[in-house]
Symmetry: C2
Subunit: 695 residues, 2 copies
Amino acid sequence: MTTEQLTTQALEARIDVAALGEQLLGRWADIRKQARALSGSEAVRGIPGLSMDEHRERVLSQLHDLVDAKAVHRAFPKRLGGEDNHGGSIASFEELVTADPSLQIKAGVQWGLFGSAVLHLGTEEHQDKWLPGIMNMEIPGAFAMTEIGHGSDVASIGTTATYDPDTQEFSINTPFKAAWKEYLGNAGLHGKAAVVFAQLITAGVNHGVHAFYVDIRDGNGFLPGVGGEDDGLKGGLNGIDNGRLHFTDVRIARTNLLNRYGDVAIDGTYSSPIHSPGRRFFTMLGTLVQGRVSLDGAATSASKIALQIAVTYGNQRRQFNATSDTVEETLMDYQRHQRRLLIRLARTYAASFAHEELLEKFDGVFSGATDTDADRQDLETLAAALKSLSTWDALDTLQEAREACGGAGFIGENRLTALRADLDVYVTFEGDNNVLLQLVGKRLLTDYGQEFRQFNAGVMARYVVKQAENVALHRTGLRSVAQFVADTGDERKSANFFKETANQRALLTDRIKTMVAQIADEMRGVDPKDRAAGAAVFNENQNALIAAARAHGELLRWEAFTTALEKTTDAGTRTVLTWLRDVYALCLIEENLGWYLMNGRLSMQRARTLPGYINILLARLRPHAQDLVDAFGYGPEHLRAAIIADDRESKRQDEAQEYYRRLRASADTPVDEKVLIAREKAAKKAAQQGSKKKK
Amino acid sequence: MTTEQLTTQALEARIDVAALGEQLLGRWADIRKQARALSGSEAVRGIPGLSMDEHRERVLSQLHDLVDAKAVHRAFPKRLGGEDNHGGSIASFEELVTADPSLQIKAGVQWGLFGSAVLHLGTEEHQDKWLPGIMNMEIPGAFAMTEIGHGSDVASIGTTATYDPDTQEFSINTPFKAAWKEYLGNAGLHGKAAVVFAQLITAGVNHGVHAFYVDIRDGNGFLPGVGGEDDGLKGGLNGIDNGRLHFTDVRIARTNLLNRYGDVAIDGTYSSPIHSPGRRFFTMLGTLVQGRVSLDGAATSASKIALQIAVTYGNQRRQFNATSDTVEETLMDYQRHQRRLLIRLARTYAASFAHEELLEKFDGVFSGATDTDADRQDLETLAAALKSLSTWDALDTLQEAREACGGAGFIGENRLTALRADLDVYVTFEGDNNVLLQLVGKRLLTDYGQEFRQFNAGVMARYVVKQAENVALHRTGLRSVAQFVADTGDERKSANFFKETANQRALLTDRIKTMVAQIADEMRGVDPKDRAAGAAVFNENQNALIAAARAHGELLRWEAFTTALEKTTDAGTRTVLTWLRDVYALCLIEENLGWYLMNGRLSMQRARTLPGYINILLARLRPHAQDLVDAFGYGPEHLRAAIIADDRESKRQDEAQEYYRRLRASADTPVDEKVLIAREKAAKKAAQQGSKKKK
């Protein structure tokens, strides 16, 4: 197919940008729009180049602005002025990333972690006592879980809370330096209280990690027994006062234990509605899953901002004369530029649709509508998988966008470097991505003995709320291996093969199933009593397990994208989105082409057609690139990149074009030396031919 | 093989760290050591957290310190106090990155770009007039090449220098906004002069881009006709005052044209020793290749710093109890951690050895020892390929190192985020990497008709100075495709296959050759007169061409690593380095496994053994990880990461260990609830069994 044919074909489909924008906004569209209006306002948005101290002060005062705008109360109980709206609360919170990630994360610390711990781990009494002050920022607070020595392994933290029946108090202690609480937002400067996670010890028994409400500062600084340090400058998020805390016999009332999942009576007797200490621990931690859910959304929003900037610039910027002496090529017309940006655009769409499903699941669990143990486990797995992928992807997309804008991408006024610096820590906080993916991998192994073996049911279908409608779709199953290998390499046939939804599903699903089965096989041989041997085999398969978990997250996204296609009613939009979904799927297959080939899932002939087919899809998508980023719906007040403000790049080029046009029309234009040389050559040739003729 | 067997085998080999360190330092070891001593000194190193203004002031004054230390004169002529030592000058310059990348790049602007332009594009008269002031910082200067509208395409810049025979002056003009000079170090604040690149117009002819020496500021600011703006805050390198410049009929003497490659006589007659304007342009630009050469070295040094920090920490830090209740696992023992860091370590070694060869080549050309047209072309290609790879790799390695240090990696005092922010722009300045790789790709296409077709000669061999000794080694050639596919999947046989130098070479070389041949085939069919069709076919192969260029750079590195192995005399060191080289090669093959399989270069069986064999090599390397990073030779004064200072992580863990040890030994230790439950269960079971017996 020629480029012209492709362009004609591509232009036959038209995106309904407004409708697609609404679809992307999802169930909480109105709340998102409110949050975007707020995030774009002068008062709430970040100011580049502030010093750390200025930035911290500004963000602190902006938190009060959020309170005034009633932007942060939605997740809290109605009786305290909230809305009991969990999904809506997260949707609103995510959009704050476009204002300033420091603002977002400081808000997340205050209401999403500190406040949520009181809400979910405390009882009504605790909520009534502290939530009003937390909601209105009278009590800025820290979420004191992580320690210097233990981040990923929370169960092993060293801080102790020992019950003293004589005084009916807990004594909070930091027994060694590694047990200092670390990286806590609000701890460096502004926090007046903290929810402190500590080993609960009473009557000579350690009942594991529990949460305690502890006052840490008054107007004069740290309270007696509390100490700490400021974390100082960080790689980003410098509007937040992260810091360290330590405790020396800090006495708190018995009732400061947030005791929903474990309580200590006056006499020191421990009780809990959950008998197993392990399950109790994971239940408590599970109530805090919203951190991961919201980071998935925020990271995806950051990717959207990056792509909206880079694609808009790529549609204006020109460089190098390939086809004409007078008009240079637009960057987005270069195949490489399409590969760099449109593949990431496809991934961001997939992430956006997957996030919306995650948010629905989260809301189902936290509203109580669909809140079984299985639902909570599914939510954990989904959040871990999607948060890992989208936070890494945000860094990758922001960086590619910055490079695609060249030197201008590195200039502060063009936003991308600061956003990337802020988002950096998203990949390791609220769960280090490599650790989270192992959680996902372990879940895959657990499920392997169960329904995962029957992989004709879609994986995402298990997780989403309304799954019945999708079942029929998922019964297509997997074609046999032999059939793949026998396939011929005819290009059109291959393109048809690759664009079939059922084939994409089969290829993506089968890879996960096979990888998990292989790891399960490896582990099956180990004596369950031999701990060292078990650990060794697990470690030998660690990388493969993480790869399987990542593939699982990618499949979840692909399924969400595919479900979204079914909900897209405008035909033109659906056509273009289908190409985009195909690009997402086929790039995943291309990335893992070695696996598909060495395991006989694709024939050599068919595999060889894949890169070319992806390039054709990219060329088809190219005329729609601007519509696809415009549908994200962010305005100049969110993008805030000088490089694309007021079409200034286009205007500069028009000015230059006009200058050269007038120059060419003028009489005293300097002639290009190259033209002169060409003329000389031609003249010489003519003279030679003339002299030959004479002879 | 069990982990124990592996460990035993690994420990049989021992690295001679000092000798390996010397080998890495290369030919200019003494100069590097001097530069490292200087870079680690209090005066020259960066201070984190300075404001932009403070940082700029500090770096400016540090440039004077460099002059005083005689650290920046080496490349300049002996008659002016220099040493005519080009390789040594770059070696020294590269090490400055460990002090502060802002310092390095500002020094690079002053002496490597501004000064070098006068040195290489000017005549002895120009040198004598301006170099002394440039060398001693009396004349801080800018290198005014890039414009807002044209970065990668220098030939199309808009600034004009029009000769006026009446006054015997050039008039420098910025005809439109897009022709403003942009991103120029020293232009924002400190620059007194600039080498301005402009279209030279005389007697009605435009002779293309030439360089002019232009005074821009005196004590009172911009000189008449000169204007500009400060670029302000950037994503990094904020110790440099980047800015924009524009010119309105700025008059300079005729003799301010740096006229080595093109001159204008008093009457306006143009003359040049190079007839072809195209060749003249590339010759002038080629004299500035040292920017790329030095960035390759600096980026590789930054990767070394990152790995030395992350591996040292990974050898101290523990997390999760996998094998024991009392001792947690060391991070470096996790397979995933090995994958993350040791693969990048292998790549950094390859980059380091390749850079040393590049530097030798550079010195050969610039000293005049081996300075033919072919040498200069080879140097250009080498520099473009290696600079692209190493600058991207530095960002990737710094980021992985930061993530491998968890939250601590994000804290400013641990260095990694700031270094990454500074290095970011290295991937797009001195040639955008995607553009540079296309230059490499075009060279591969040009060569394809020539010697590249006979690929039994190594590729690197063409480029390095002393190639005779290697020829024998390169005659091994490529085994036939059929043979690969027929290979069995026996694990040991596969391991033997993969570790053979000749097979690695064959696989890596064949891929490039085949890719280039395919692209050449696609382009062959196009009518050379049809410019649009030619551009279209080139564009359709752009991504493939860049992939081939990247593969070529990787092969260059692999060959340099292999050559270095031959020069490694200590047997233990050579054994370990060979594993490391194998990891580098096999990871490249693993990354492109899809290609090798779909093109029949590897059998499915053999391919399936590859990931496992890489994991085995990583486990073998693991005990040597610390030696391998220690050999880079950077001290605490260069690393400056609190996280590994004074072994504080180890000490904290020892303190915690000791606390728990004493607790276990004490009588009033709290019992873990889990233990209690286990005891209860056991007691219940015993009671049941007892009652059963009674019955």
